[in-house]
């Protein structure tokens, strides 16, 4: 699903966020990305969804060289990638339901289907009573879950999640992971960037550690 070959990203003046990254993620895999703050996790996710372009190297997503895609093709690929951003990128003057609906509206889902899907997700994330609340009025943890709901709503093939449990207590974390696991079981490839050891240690998924923008280890979770 994801193929990276010798990818690097530098920012002006000369900050090297990533360098010499080569790895691949299989279709249907759940993949963890860890590393200290500033290691380059967010940058890596942004490269995968083409929010940023690499300074060098090659990135393929679902068989497409994502940096060569333009216009409609890029839009259609993005519809199949759900991203929960570290800074959420919610529209604070819109309700929770409207925020989640956006990712389905752009691929012309029927209003009824959108409504049902929104209810279902809010139910799974214990946010049913926030349906009509403006997202600007939510707590960080609630906003985080709304961002996640928007990412998975359109049933994308690839889900990128940046720090999904940063503001959550143990039981809410468990619900979030259940939601992601369910999406994964349904066939979605999932990449999770996190500091939270509790969500990957007990799994048998692959874990890639970054430090200073390089791959420092690529292991499997403790359960294996």
């Amino acid at each position: 699903m994801i193929e990276m070959i010798k990818v690097g990203r530098t920012y002006d003046p000369d900050i090297t966020a990533l360098s010499d990254i080569s790895f691949s993620v299989e279709t249907g895999e759940m993949f963890f990305l860890i590393g200290r703050s500033g290691a380059g996790k967010t940058t890596l996710l942004k490269l995968i969804c083409n929010m940023e372009t690499p300074s060098n190297g090659l990135i393929e997503v679902a068989g497409y060289n994502i940096n060569k895609l333009k216009g409609k093709d890029l839009a259609h690929l993005r519809q199949r990638i759900g991203v929960a951003y570290q800074d959420f990128k919610l529209l604070n003057d819109r309700t929770v339901a409207e925020n989640i609906a956006i990712s389905m509206e752009v691929s012309y889902k029927k209003p009824r289907a959108i409504k049902n899907r929104v209810r279902e997700l809010l139910d799974q994330l214990q946010l049913v009573d926030k349906h009509d609340t403006l997202t600007g009025e939510l707590s960080r943890g609630e906003q985080q879950r709304v961002a996640l709901a928007r990412a998975v709503a359109n049933s994308p093939r690839l889900i990128l999640v940046d720090e999904p449990t940063g503001n959550l207590d143990a039981s809410t974390t468990k619900q979030v992971m259940e939601l992601l696991t369910r999406s994964n079981k349904a066939g979605a490839t999932i990449v999770i960037a996190t500091h939270d050891e509790s969500i990957y240690q007990q799994s048998n998924h692959r874990i890639m550690e970054l430090s200073n923008g390089r791959i420092s280890s690529l292991t499997r979770g403790g359960k294996a």
Binding site: A75, H76, L91, S103, Y108, N154
Partner: protein
């Protein structure tokens, strides 16, 4: 859910969010359509009146002497040498006398003492319909005046001249108000759409990230411009029609309006004005999209 449903819903959101500036733009567009259409209406009616008047336009060439048959032939040839004409009538002194007597009617006895040949002979030239415009008529009359044996040429110069300058002034006013319409329609619409785009930068950014196609993002703004043009022109024209009806009913009877036989625009012109303002407003929104919507 199809594309147009999504786009219309998005347009509705845009309109709701910036309705005050949308409303101001709508008013400005209607007002400029009203101003332009007002002058254009007067203009077309003037042109119509001018047309009808020039149908009756005749140049009368007064001759020094009664022309003989040979002379008539020659004059006819010389006139048609300059330009084809609709008709040429020779009016002998006797005919002129009879016509005059007829015009006087019951008072014709005042002519009793006059000799039958006191009026000059003349040629009545009916110019071609294509010979329009004051300067052409003037040139033609100068040419006629230069023919041998002619005394003077008459065609109601003063009246034609005034009418001509008035229509020319109106042309300028129409052009100016047309320019005003173009400026307000394009710039005001471009400006409001720019406001919308600026106010929703975050959302537009997000739409791109979740995979909205360019047309999904752009089309609502184009529709907004289109609606401004459509609504603005319809309201502007309706206002003018109301004004027209009011004037017609209040100033009916003998007067200027009846003289000119005032008409409202035919459907084709109405459609063109609406279409034109739609195009202008869409153009305005298009330029804003081009400039401020980086996709």
């Amino acid at each position: 859910m199809n594309f147009w449903f999504a786009v219309l819903r998005q347009t509705g959101r845009n309109l709701r969010q910036t309705w005050t500036s949308q409303f101001m733009t709508f008013l400005t567009v209607s007002l400029s359509v009203l101003i332009f259409a007002f002058f254009y209406l007067i203009y077309t009616n003037m042109i119509g009146a001018a047309d009808r008047l020039s149908d009756d336009l005749r140049l009368i060439v007064y001759l020094e002497d009664e022309p003989g048959v040979e002379m008539q032939k020659q004059l006819r040839r010389k006139i048609t040498n300059f330009d084809d004409v609709e008709e040429i009538h020779f009016i002998s002194k006797a005919e002129a006398y009879e016509r005059f007597a007829k015009q006087l009617g019951n008072d014709s006895d005042v002519l009793a003492d006059m000799p039958k040949d006191f009026l000059p002979a003349s040629i009545e030239v009916v110019p071609l319909k294509s010979l329009r415009g004051y300067s052409q008529i003037k040139l033609f009359s100068e040419y006629l005046a230069s023919l041998p044996g002619t005394e003077k040429v008459q065609y109601g110069q003063e009246w034609v001249e005034r009418f001509y300058y008035f229509t020319r002034l109106l042309t300028i006013v129409v052009l100016l108000s047309g320019t005003l319409l173009i400026l307000t329609a394009t710039f005001m619409v471009a400006y409001t759409i720019r406001l919308t785009i600026m106010g929703r930068q975050a959302e537009l950014e997000l739409l791109k990230l979740v995979g909205a196609t360019n047309s999904y993002i752009r089309t609502p703004f184009l529709i907004e411009g289109l609606l401004q043009g459509l609504m603005g022109s319809i309201i502007g024209l309706s206002a003018l029609y109301g004004l027209f009806q009011w004037i017609s009913s209040h100033f009916a009877g003998p007067g200027l309006l009846n003289l000119f036989h005032f008409n409202f625009f035919p459907p084709v012109v109405i459609a063109s004005i609406i279409l034109g303002s739609i195009c202008l407003c869409s153009l305005g929104s298009y330029t804003s999209i081009r400039k401020f919507l980086r996709i």
